[in-house]
């Protein structure tokens, strides 16, 4: 079901009403990050729900409030949805207290998505930092499930330390996949660390991927994105070859509550996925 179908007969529909979802599994990723596997209680909805990589949703802990996260699993894997949450505030703290079997609220999917059509037949370069791998992971799983549509796939992922790496089970799977070039780096290693040590943009510069027929998709902390962008431009990537997802404070997710705007654009409905071509032409620098 796409969003418009979900709002069929929208005359009387309550757009703020969440669907109930059950937590079927909780995976601790790092000290402050957990991934929740969730399923709709409504079997028909669970069967028919669909979304696209890059879209987000509003998640409720009833009594604590609602918060915005991307869907970190791929639409090609339909058994359940996954959402990865870093504990930073009231709702995320409450989410982290929940266990398998607990019920949360879900509204979505909202927003635009990664331009799969424009990625087909290209060399894909994924550059992620910290929890910023979550939206990329949805897309990476998505393209791996349709592997023949794409050419070389490279994943560069970094975190502060080996303990801060999210989705270690995925990193291991991708490392073993002969059709994926996987590079992991940390700012500070330890005795057991076998990967690279160094900031993501620095490692990227060493790797020096060719911009020829390539698209780079990046997400991470703002400072990483800034230096990654600089590095990609130095390597010859044009702004239209680089994509990212932006984060802004949201409440409604529907373009009404008035806080996620960057100039006249609303990240919730005009984004969250933007090319650097678009970002470069933003009217405002407030993001």
């Amino acid at each position: 079901m796409n969003p418009s179908q979900m709002n069929e007969g929208a005359q009387g529909k309550n757009i703020y009403l969440p669907h109930r979802m059950e937590i079927i599994k909780v995976i601790p990723e790092t000290e402050d990050t957990k991934t929740f596997h969730i399923q709709f209680l409504d079997a028909t909805l669970q069967e028919n729900f669909s979304f696209l990589s890059g879209q987000f949703a509003e998640y409720s802990v009833f009594g604590e409030g609602e918060a915005t996260f991307c869907i970190s699993s791929s639409p090609t894997r339909r058994d359940h949805l996954e959402v990865s949450v870093k504990r930073v505030g009231r709702v995320t703290y409450a989410l982290h207290q929940l266990n398998q079997g607990d019920i949360i609220g879900f509204r979505g999917p909202y927003g635009n998505h990664f331009p799969l059509d424009r990625l087909k037949g290209k060399n894909l370069l994924f550059i992620g930092g910290g929890i910023g791998l979550a939206p990329l992971r949805s897309l990476i799983q998505n393209v791996l499930d349709n592997r023949s549509d794409y050419r070389d796939i490279t994943v560069l992922y970094g975190a502060r330390s080996p303990q801060d790496l999210c989705f270690q089970y995925d990193l291991a799977t991708w490392s073993r996949n002969p059709l994926v070039k996987m590079i992991t780096t940390v700012d500070v290693g330890d005795n057991d660390w076998k990967g690279k040590v160094g900031l993501v943009p620095v490692v990227l510069e060493e790797m020096a991927p060719s911009p020829e027929g390539a698209v780079a998709i990046t997400c991470g902390p703002p400072i990483m994105i800034r230096y990654t962008l600089r590095c990609l431009e130095k390597l010859g990537f044009t702004p239209s070859q680089i994509w990212t997802t932006l984060e802004m404070k949201m409440k409604c997710g529907l373009g009404k509550c008035g806080r996620c705007n960057i100039g006249p654009l609303y990240v919730c409905k005009d984004g969250p996925v933007f090319s650097f071509e678009e970002i470069r032409n933003f009217f405002s620098d407030e993001f």
């Binding site: 709002n7 409030g65 019920i103």
Partner: protein, 334 residues
């Protein structure tokens, strides 16, 4: 179609409407004008406007959206319906009625906010022409005609004996009913009922086209916004009193084993409005003030082809530090 009615009959007419609808009219409570249930009180002469805009009757500052009950820890979620029942409001002003229409497209589109839209559709609006320019207002500059408006079902002009009215919609016509209260009036009577002092100031304070262009041109001028907003104390009264400010928050109320989510009024003037875990894109005051002005005169216009300001002047009159929006607009339009 033009009608006329005496003051006495107007009261009887409104009282009679209570059989079929909730009727609201201006009332002075503790010295402040507001719209409340009509209880056969005297309709004030030369009513200017309410302190709070009537937007709160449509976009409530607290609106319960759904509730949950948690028997055995598993919450059952029940949607709450929008308010229903016919409503009639007498005495609304052209600026405030325009504001209700200006923000309407925010709540329509792919995701329809039935709470706002139902409040609009269930309410018949009876407008009242202004007798004087409100303090601090610049409605004329914003294209509001204080003597006529198509945003109502019936629009009234006050005359010494009562009112001359223009019936605008078929619902308005139905409401005016047979000839028990109203008499037919001529176009001449309607024209003569126009207030002596029209709302429009001559010459205009500023040219609206230049304001629109100016707000966009000044956007990157950090020093301009810093200077303009220096005395702002982030109190949010301008957004609270603004008939078009509509930004909201979603908040939970949890009681033992049950709770509800509310849509609540919020303000872009508050420092935590856009605060996220690690950063806040509008942490500095000048950015927030720039956002408010730019949203109204630039972004909203780009998205909905209308300016989100009607020049009612409430923000000008009630700002505790005299931050006068008119001065800001004058400066960008210079």
């Amino acid at each position: 179609m033009y009608l006329k009615i005496t003051r006495e009959k107007l009261s009887h007419w409104l009282a009679g409407l209570k059989a079929q609808a909730e009727v609201l009219a201006p009332v002075k409570v503790k010295g402040l004008w507001t719209f409340q249930k009509f209880d056969s009180q005297e309709i004030p002469r030369k009513f200017q406007n309410s302190l709070l805009p009537p937007k709160g009757l449509f976009l409530e500052s607290l609106r319960a959206l759904f509730e949950w009950k948690s028997p055995g820890g598993s919450p059952q979620v029940n949607p709450l319906p929008p308010l229903d029942g016919q409503r009639v409001i007498f005495g609304l002003k052209p600026c405030d009625a325009r504001a209700l229409r200006i923000i309407e497209p925010v709540f329509t589109g792919e995701y329809r906010d039935v709470f706002y839209l139902r409040n609009l559709s269930r309410t018949l609006l009876l407008g009242l022409a202004c007798r004087a320019q409100c303090e601090g207002s610049f409605c004329g500059e914003m294209g509001i005609d204080s003597q006529d408006s198509a945003d109502f079902d019936i629009f009234f002009r006050e005359v010494p004996e009562g009112y001359v009215a223009r019936v605008i919609t078929s619902q308005g016509k139905g409401l005016a009913g047979g000839r028990d209260f109203f008499e037919e009036a001529s176009e001449k009577e309607w024209n003569l009922a126009q207030a002596e002092k029209r709302g429009r100031r001559e010459p205009s304070l500023f040219d609206l086209e230049r304001v629109k262009a100016g707000v966009a041109e000044f956007f990157p001028d950090e020093n301009f916004w810093k200077r303009i907003s220096a005395k702002c104390i982030n109190c949010g009264i301008c957004t609270y009193l603004c008939p078009t400010c509509h930004c909201f928050d979603l908040c939970d109320l949890q009681l033992p084993r049950q709770g509800a989510r509310f849509r609540c009024g919020d303000s872009c003037a508050f420092p935590d409005f856009t605060k996220m875990a690690v950063h806040n894109p509008r942490e500095e005051k000048w950015r927030r003030y720039r956002q408010r002005v730019s949203h109204k005169f630039n972004f909203f216009y780009q998205n909905f082809q209308r300016i989100a300001c009607v020049g009612c002047g409430r923000c000008v009159t009630h700002c505790p530090v005299n931050l006068d929006l008119r001065e800001v607009l004058l400066e960008v339009a210079r």
